[in-house]
């Protein structure tokens, strides 16, 4: 019974959203439901927080290997939540100076801004920058011009890499203006504007067709995998 209700909810909400794209009177419904969706997604964060707390608390209580790092995670989590919810160090809005919690949560100088600027942003940026080393080392090991396809990939990557650096400009700067399209920076632009653009379009169109087909399967109840085992 519960599953049938769920299927009906999926069908009704899905059809309403699809209709809203075509019928003007239903557009406001779609906006309302999209707002509900955002609210629901925000409430779902509680579920994520509960899971995070459950996993790390169980690690701490059973003194699993690395439980100290679980404690660090939980402390960081609780501290950030408290700082953010209480708007610590936030100045009120200038148009309402008596409403103490009216200011922007991440205004310059607030504790939440401090956490983002000095903890979250440096760590995430450094983690992403580490990928430069790993991608380069993986490429060094895997890139071999064994056939036409591999050669094309290798050459395109090489041109884009060089074409976007000063070295690329210097290396092919001697090419006369009449053949300027052969300069690395121009070749790099042509690769992006023509070949990569065509490839991306084919991929995007393919993805769009795939998403549309999957969405229809879900709305019509053919694909019920989101309900868990048994379907």
């Amino acid at each position: 019974m519960n599953r049938q209700i769920a299927l009906l909810v999926t069908l009704v909400s899905g059809v309403l959203m699809v209709l809203s794209g075509f019928l003007i009177p239903t557009q406001s419904w779609a906006e309302d439901v999209a707002e509900w969706f955002n609210v629901l997604a925000s409430i779902a964060f509680v579920l994520g927080a509960a899971n995070l707390a459950k996993i790390h608390l169980s690690k701490i209580s059973s003194r699993d290997e690395g439980w100290g790092f679980s404690a660090v995670t939980l402390i960081a989590f609780v501290a950030t939540l408290a700082i953010g919810f209480l708007k610590i160090g936030v100045a009120p809005l200038e148009t309402a100076p008596l409403v103490s919690m009216s200011g922007e949560k991440d205004g310059e100088g607030s504790a939440f801004w401090w956490l983002y600027t000095f903890v979250m942003s440096p760590i995430t940026a450094t983690m992403f920058s580490l990928l430069a080393f790993y991608v380069a080392s993986a490429a060094f090991r895997a890139f071999r011009a064994k056939n036409v396809e591999a050669t094309l990939l290798l050459v395109a990557a090489f041109i884009v890499l060089l074409g976007r650096t000063f070295a690329g400009v210097v290396l092919t700067g001697w090419i006369p203006d009449s053949l300027s399209f052969l300069r690395l920076e121009n070749l790099s632009t042509i690769i992006f504007e023509v070949f990569a653009s065509a490839g991306n379009r084919a991929i995007i169109i393919g993805i769009a067709l795939g998403v549309a087909a999957t969405s229809l399967k879900i709305i019509l109840g053919i694909d019920r995998s989101y309900m868990g085992s048994g379907d």
């Binding site: 769920a6 995670t73 148009t95 760590i123 490429a139 884009v160 990569a196 490839g199 989101y226």
Partner: protein, 331 residues
């Protein structure tokens, strides 16, 4: 054991060098702020900035980030000034950011407790960060602001529209049902809000993908192959358009698996693969460049903001800062 000793020596030498650099000369890793007095009075029911010399009803001091050069310049004018001063919290922040950056970089050597510490910290901080963002940006204005607008206006958002909309109780009920997944006996209730989420996402994505991806991309491709400019047909642009058109068609043929890739279909699909390979190569090159740029930015942070070894933007040059510092002192 030898390796442990080597690392201890390296880290000790680094710590000593840092200490020497921190406590001698202009130091390093310091952040300065400028005090800005904020004073307000109520005029005809509206709060406005209080003119200089009048008694304000509410006031506070706002600290605005400034350059070390501005501080040096201000001190050169008046050694006892306190308008531009050292910010302890932001200086501590730069040091923490620098250490966390080094902790993450230490993974290049191998997995270690410093890296794990930074990793555990980011897991906790980012999970809570997005919760806080969704609370203040979604729940407060879009849920509480519509269920209890007066309360929200008085305590959090004075400019919010004071209109009640009880339809917002629907996502609240669905949200409570979703949270029932935490209680094993009532977990079955969680499937209905999940169905709502899946249904709305499917419907929205169905329309948006067809509209903005399928139709828009097809329309961009289906253009005249001969590009006509002011002086007639533009050969270069026309060749580009033909190559683009051929690439899209060939790529789509490659993705069409309902027909066996043989004969003309197979050859077209092969051309599609070539285009895709160039696309992946370009994406690879672009990604690597992006990551290298990020790496350069992190190095710049370490050498400029923290160690004060380089100064590419002249933030610590007194001459550049006089224009900032002197007017601040006069105020």
């Amino acid at each position: 054991m030898n390796q442990k000793r080597t690392w201890t020596i390296i880290l000790s030498v680094a710590a000593i060098l840092l200490a020497i650099r921190t406590f001698t000369g202009p130091g390093m890793g310091k952040v300065y702020v400028e005090n800005s007095n904020k004073a307000f009075i109520e005029v005809n029911g509206k709060w406005v900035e209080a003119p200089v010399g009048t008694t304000s009803a509410v006031s506070w001091v706002k600290e605005i980030g400034t350059t070390p050069g501005a501080y040096f310049a201000a001190n050169a004018v008046d050694a006892n000034q306190s308008v531009i001063h050292l910010s302890t919290s932001r200086t501590l922040g730069v040091w923490i950011a620098a250490l966390l950056t080094l902790f993450i970089f230490s993974f290049l050597y191998r997995d270690n407790p410093f890296y794990k510490f930074a990793e555990s910290t980011i897991v906790g901080v980012s999970a809570a960060y997005w919760m806080v963002v969704s609370f203040w940006d979604t729940l407060v204005p879009k849920l509480f602001g519509k269920l209890a607008p007066n309360f929200v206006a008085e305590h959090f958002m004075p400019n919010i529209k004071r209109e009640t909309d009880y339809w917002l109780l629907v996502p609240v009920i669905l949200g409570v049902m979703l949270l029932c997944r935490l209680v094993p006996r009532a977990a079955y209730l969680g499937i209905v809000p999940l169905a709502f989420i899946v249904g709305t996402t499917s419907g929205l994505k169905f329309v948006s993908y067809i509209e903005s991806d399928l139709l828009a991309q097809t329309a961009s491709t289906m253009k005249s192959l001969a590009v006509v400019g002011d002086g007639g047909i533009e050969v270069g642009e026309s060749i580009k358009q033909v190559l683009l058109f051929v690439g899209v068609i060939a790529g789509l043929v490659y993705f069409f698996f309902s027909v066996e890739h043989k004969g003309i279909v197979g050859k077209t699909a092969r051309v599609g693969v070539w285009y895709l390979m160039i696309t992946f190569g370009a994406a690879f090159g672009f990604t690597v460049m992006g990551r290298i740029a990020l790496f350069a930015a992190r190095c710049e942070f370490l050498f400029d903001d923290w160690l004060w070894l380089i100064d590419p933007t002249g933030r610590r040059a007194i001459a550049d800062a006089v224009e900032i510092a002197v007017p601040a002192l006069l105020l």
